[in-house]
Symmetry: C2
Subunit: 453 residues, 2 copies
């Protein structure tokens, strides 16, 4: 009765026994109420040699539940362990969106092998979905939903629902179409339950239905569902023909995926590295960023080298280098993070951009003055050199202001030119800030060198 | 028919006219089909002087829709513009979870004022919810759901649904309780639609219902709903009494909130800074991190100062300082980001931790060797000093390995001691890596100083 089923407990032991005993009827009964996610956990915990046997004992309905929960490598492994007829039957029954996502990651000859053996209609549906660009509404949508003609009565509708209830992915909304299959409205379950049997859909529908176009980016689709608290949203083509629906559970996955992508990019940590990724793959994905950052580090190094004389004269300048560069970088990262996450829930207009830039400049001035004053005092006390303190303090004021401005304007510019603002912003902002801050610091130092000596 | 309603278009003009004309019946009809989010956008775009008039024209149902979409400062402003009786009526009709969340942020005397005027039952309900700690299941749950006794027939159930359809927040699942109000199972709409009118709930229920305890952390609740693709999950107390349900739309908000919190902490960007936050508040929230990082910068500075002689002898060592510290910090941040996001979807056991640490060490060795070799060559070519190249290269190998290990082990340790691994990990890892990397770099340099000169 609690959220977590303990898979190593009784249930797991019972299933192990049933598989060993080849007790198919009892196994099917035990698995009947099991949620797909739990079925996956059970399957993954079975000893390797029992997995094939388990797959041969359970029926197609359970196999469909299982495969839709597995990661791609396990999906391929599982299909290979089934007979061709059984694997094709499973594919025929899978949700189109899950199937398209899975096939997308399969080797090309496997995809053709399966598509040619599937039922024509299902094969056609999934190929249709696969024509849409990745991460768009067209890719996320399922065709397992219930639609109804606007002239249908409540009685007809309930009958149709009875027929479709077992195969539809969601039956919370009924989408109403006209003679040309164009979307004209939506009827909710509530309305249906409260209605009289002889009313028609035309009496019940809400015409102000919110739909998304097939080519809409999945992040925007998520925004629509999140804003409107929908359980599903209909997807239409350019001529408003109803093509499919996107359900809220897929949207949660999108939200998690997009947040992970933002974090990956902000931290330059490389794409799709999970706990399971092996060390070679992980290194391969992380190295490009690191090597980029290595050369960025060399740029700052070469700036310092042009000030070698100044540095040679006042070695203590080196003590504050990491601080100046680090503080500018940190300020920039703060602003960047605020902009990247803000873009998730805001539409940008000129007024918003202007207000944001002004705000960040003010923030930079406030924080710069406070941090600058602090470091002036600390540097003076530590090094007993007021001119050095002034150079460090004044540099910090200027570089913190530059940090907030680059951290804000660069992602906004990238966004304006339709580049994902999180892409490369992290390293980009670090470079620019490193170079600008060290340049300002040493220029000020050279200017005031006679006072420091 | 598209996702975006253009608020500055016809609809907005029509509403403006209707408000100006005091045309209540027509306004109500126009607003009838409008989604809550759109209602909010319309309201926010009204000129200030028309807002009060708008509020006086629309009915309580619309007011409830509106207030549940507004941000907290706007909520308070809106309530203050209503008559006491109307504002109390709105509160009585609000969803308990939204109401509790709103009141939580109101001044204390306002909360007491409203609670004492609300209907006893509603006031009691919301006070009950407010007793649960923030960010737990108890806080997210609503009591607007439909439950049914296990002895009820399908006919009784459909009748009850008809009564409750207008007030229930979700009617996708029916939770079945026994005589003691304990949760015994769940019946889905599909089952109900397919059932015979004379069957009872006992014939239909699935007993393997997954519920969450009232004190469960909201992030775990989100995980349950996400894993199981539920539209709602029931919340129970220690004795399995059904206390409420949590719906998927609240969970999407939780997922977004938690992702934002992770990013805020990873980037040390301060809590809850949005595009709307004013510059003083934003500075106030960001400064503590910056000042912390300032003192961290001083620690690295003081380490460098202990190696003043070495630095004085080979000034070129300073050119590579930002590179060494930066690369270690970047490697650490990469590992940290992977761990923090991985923890969102993984349960940790010893095996996972051991495998992860080993993987990251291997990644550190691979990336360290490659970056180290690269910088050795570059440093040699640039400075014509093979010993300097060796010091920089060797330091980089060691510090990158240290970077992956601190970036992995520190968040895992924090997680083990139930501290949110994202908290302070960013700055913490930066400090430790700055200090360790500069120490290693200058120690190696001092050791090999005679070869460099």
């Amino acid at each position: 009765m609690t959220a977590k089923i303990e898979y190593d407990s009784e249930l797991m032991l019972e299933i192990l026994d049933l598989v060993k005993e080849n007790n198919q009827p009892q196994l099917m009964e035990t698995l009947d109420d099991i949620q797909p996610y739990d079925l996956r956990q059970i399957y993954l915990q079975l000893p390797e040699k029992l997995k094939t046997k388990f797959l041969s004992l359970v029926d197609e309905v359970q196999l469909v539940k299982l495969i839709q929960e597995l990661e791609q490598p396990d999906q391929l492994k599982m299909l290979n362990q089934l007979s061709t007829s059984k694997s094709v039957a499973v594919l025929n029954k899978m949700d189109n969106d899950d199937l398209a996502y899975m096939l997308d990651q399969f080797p090309k000859e496997r995809v053709e092998y399966y598509l040619s053996r599937m039922q024509d209609q299902e094969s056609m549906h999934v190929q249709n979905i696969m024509h849409y660009p990745p991460e768009t509404a067209g890719r996320l949508m399922t065709n397992r939903f219930v639609w109804i003609s606007k002239s249908a009565s409540v009685r007809d509708t309930v009958d149709k629902l009875k027929t479709f209830a077992t195969i539809a992915e969601t039956i919370n909304y009924l989408y109403v179409i006209d003679e040309d299959k164009k979307l004209v409205g939506v009827v909710s379950y509530r309305d249906l339950i409260l209605a009289d049997m002889n009313e028609t859909m035309e009496d019940l529908i809400s015409h102000r239905v919110i739909s998304v176009p097939t080519e809409m980016d999945q992040e925007e689709v998520a925004q629509v569902i999140e804003r409107y608290d929908f359980l599903a949203v209909p997807v239409v083509d350019d001529e408003n023909h109803l093509k499919g629906i996107i359900t809220v559970d897929d949207v949660i996955d999108v939200v998690i995926q997009e947040a992970n992508e933002d974090i990956e990019k902000l931290s330059a940590s490389g794409k799709d590295i999970t706990f399971e990724t092996n060390s070679l793959t992980a290194s391969y994905r992380r190295l490009p960023w690191l090597i980029l950052l290595l050369f960025i580090g060399l740029v700052s190094g070469s700036i310092i080298s042009t000030f070698e004389e100044t540095l040679d004269a006042v070695v203590a300048l080196a003590f504050f280098m990491p601080l100046i560069a680090g503080m500018t970088g940190n300020t920039g990262t703060q602003s960047l993070a605020i902009v990247v996450r803000g873009l998730v829930s805001h539409d940008l207009d000129k007024k918003t951009v202007a207000r944001l830039l002004l705000r960040e400049m003010l923030v930079g001035i406030i924080m710069g003055l406070i941090c600058g004053a602090l470091i002036l005092v600390v540097a003076y006390i530590w090094q007993g050199n007021i001119a050095l303190g002034a150079v460090v303090g004044l540099s910090l004021v200027l570089t913190i202001i530059i940090g907030t401005l680059t951290g804000t304007s660069i992602p906004l510019l990238l966004h304006k030119f339709n580049v994902d603002p999180a892409v490369a912003s992290g390293p980009l902002i670090t470079t620019i800030n490193d170079i600008l801050s060290l340049f300002i610091y040493f220029s000020l130092a050279r200017l005031l060198i006679e006072f420091m000596m």
